[in-house]
């Protein structure tokens, strides 16, 4: 499914067409440029030793912005660990992502207030959690009749092509189907699970898996923000009206390494990357905005300036992030506290204070 070709030409689709205003499309363009810039800056910060590791988003901007902008504030998102673009759409500032990768926290945003669950690193775990949340939405009467009302809700869970091999993900498909859960399974097929290509995970296209579980599956050009937006909006409507779940396979490409610790030159050919560069998610929108005369040079320059400012702000923020104090380690281990953990904390802090008193180096 595609609505905007890599050359920036609008194509129609009988089921999933979309009315988009110049303002909206400029907004999607700006989103993608800014999240790409934040991603590139964070990648550079890792190279400069400011982050322990970074997980690049490069190439997946359209998939994530399309899906993220299709969501309403009341909808809930369950990300894996590469969903920096979805985070952006949920109102999470790129600075709030840095702590995980700098090692100062395990996620600094408020998952309940933003309706954006903490990043999940163990592959596929979050899919079952998302199904359970969506079951709750259904049990609470947030779908079905009157779904147009402001309190209708659905859930989107994000995972990758590799994750589809995990038991948890397959169980999530079963549970989602059995409980008619209003959940959109949003799979970003970026072609590579670290070094392993798609054929190590599946014989058939991933979206076709859905039919075996009894719900619709659709493949969308994940580098086409309009198509991704249109399909995700449709899928969320299906869920809100009680016809969930839906599987979306956003067909895209991981333009950079799996993480900054990875070296893709060991397992994939540069030609493949070059071919995908021609399908860049941002360039096609820029070409279309130009062609329609919906944006001019001044607009693009303004977005560029804004992205420079964002990068500078990220860099500055990162460099002054404080190291958490040692007692942070012992907090919130249990919801109601633990005298045993508190005792360990006190003992350790006393131990540390000896070094302060003597001025000694640990």
């Amino acid at each position: 499914m595609q609505l905007l070709t890599p050359e920036g030409e609008r194509v129609a689709h009988p089921h999933f067409d979309i009315d988009i205003t110049p303002d909206e499309l400029r907004g999607l363009y700006r989103d993608m440029v800014l999240v790409r810039r934040a991603d590139r800056e964070s990648n550079a910060l890792q190279r400069q030793g400011q982050l322990g590791i970074w997980v690049p988003l490069l190439g997946q901007e359209a998939a994530q912005i399309g899906a993220g902008r299709a969501m309403r504030p009341r909808d809930m998102a369950f990300p894996s660990y590469r969903e920096h673009g979805v985070a952006w759409c949920r109102g999470i500032d790129p600075t709030e992502l840095l702590g995980i990768f700098r090692g100062t926290d395990h996620g600094s945003w408020d998952p309940m207030a933003t309706r954006f669950h903490p990043y999940t690193i163990v592959i596929g775990n979050q899919c079952l959690n998302a199904v359970g949340y969506a079951m709750g939405q259904r049990f609470d009467g947030r779908i079905g009749d009157g779904h147009d009302s402001a309190d209708a809700e659905a859930t989107v869970v994000f995972f990758g092509d590799g994750a589809t091999s995990q038991g948890d993900v397959n169980e999530a498909f079963v549970w989602g189907a059995v409980y008619d859960a209003p959940v959109v399974f949003f799979c970003q097929n970026n072609q590579w699970a670290i070094s392993e290509p798609m054929e190590r995970q599946s014989r058939i296209p991933l979206y076709q898996r859905a039919s075996g579980y009894g719900f619709p599956g659709i493949r969308v050009d994940g580098n086409d923000v309009l198509a991704t937006l249109a399909v995700t909006r449709w899928a969320l409507e299906e869920c809100r009206s009680g016809n969930g779940p839906v599987l979306i396979e956003a067909f895209t490409y991981r333009m950079d390494a799996h993480t900054t610790s990875d070296d893709p030159s060991r397992y994939r050919l540069a030609d493949e990357l070059e071919a995908w560069k021609l399908k860049d998610p941002i360039e096609r929108v820029k070409a279309y905005l130009h062609r329609q005369q919906w944006a001019d040079g001044d607009y693009f320059a303004e977005v560029e300036r804004e992205s420079d400012a964002l990068a500078a702000r990220l860099r500055e923020y990162c460099q002054r992030m404080p190291v958490p104090s040692a007692d942070r380690m012992f907090s919130e281990v249990y919801a109601n506290g633990s005298s045993a953990v508190s005792a360990q904390r006190d003992e350790f802090l006393t131990y540390l204070s000896q070094f302060e008193q003597t001025g000694g180096e640990r």
């Binding site: 592959i123 995970q201 380690m329």
Partner: protein, 346 residues
Amino acid sequence: MTEVDARSRPRPADGSDPGQAPSKVTIGKALNLGLRAAMERDPKVILMGEDIGRLGGVFRITDGLQKDFGEQRVLDTPLAESGIVGAAIGLAIRGYRPVCEIQFDGFIFPAFDQIVSQLAKLNYRSQGRIRMPVVIRVPFGGGIGAVEHHSESPESYFAHTAGLKVVACSNPVDAYWMIQQAIESDEPVLFFEPKRRYHEKAELDLTATPVPLHSSRVLRRGGTATIACYGPMVKTCLEAAESAAEQEGHDLEVIDLRTLSPLDLEPVHESVRRTGRLVVASEAPGESSIASEIAARVQQECFYSLEAPVVRVTGFDTPYPPSKLEEEYLPDLDRVLHAVEQSLGW
């Protein structure tokens, strides 16, 4: 993750060239050589895991092995840890000797069910008719500045499960021999590799006779107190012992446990009967841990020799913290020495 050792292609490691001078290799390289030797010796040995083939594993432990042994002996598996172990069990029933790689400690839990419900119990359930010669390699422990689930020490869960053998290597020589011994074993072995020590080097004599797999070893003799440790903590404890000798004149005995299930505590008992004091060091949380088990057994066996209670120096009973706090979380040289002082001050 980082390159482990990309210096050269692995050399044949079958001991057929005793004339060559012993060379220094890393733990990572020693494991690679040990796997290669086991695969050359027995065509039923196959490797399974995520990214272990073309990439050679994220730590490059299996570097070059798929190229030399083919895709049917080094399997880049689907991204499914329960699948890796569950399928390995089936292959073992069929007569293969699978060596599974779990990419990081924190990713072993999807496979936990297969490990504790099937792998550990099939020999028992079949009354010995089904053997489980499966090795599960797990890079474990912290200290590499990683994100969540990449720095854990889950060994106690497996030691707690009857039917599983659990070992941890601490140096290149043990890495080379222990991986081969684990593969030769007809029993399932959880093989823990100290990931932050993968780069540590030592001379490796391929013609040496290895000590048995399930035996602990005294690495440093001393009479003041005994330290029992394993995996990544061994280096820390040896350094602590050197420091204690220089700074305080203490003479600490350091024992590398090597085998966590079964424990080989005779050398520890013998040592404690001489020193009267024991510190057990481990990165894992202390509660219901290997360290707890050792403390319980030693106080039972050596009660009249003990001058002080057994002291445990371990990770805290918290989830593994964000990496900026891992230096505080992990027992370091100072905390080991502090534990020794606690014991001596009793």
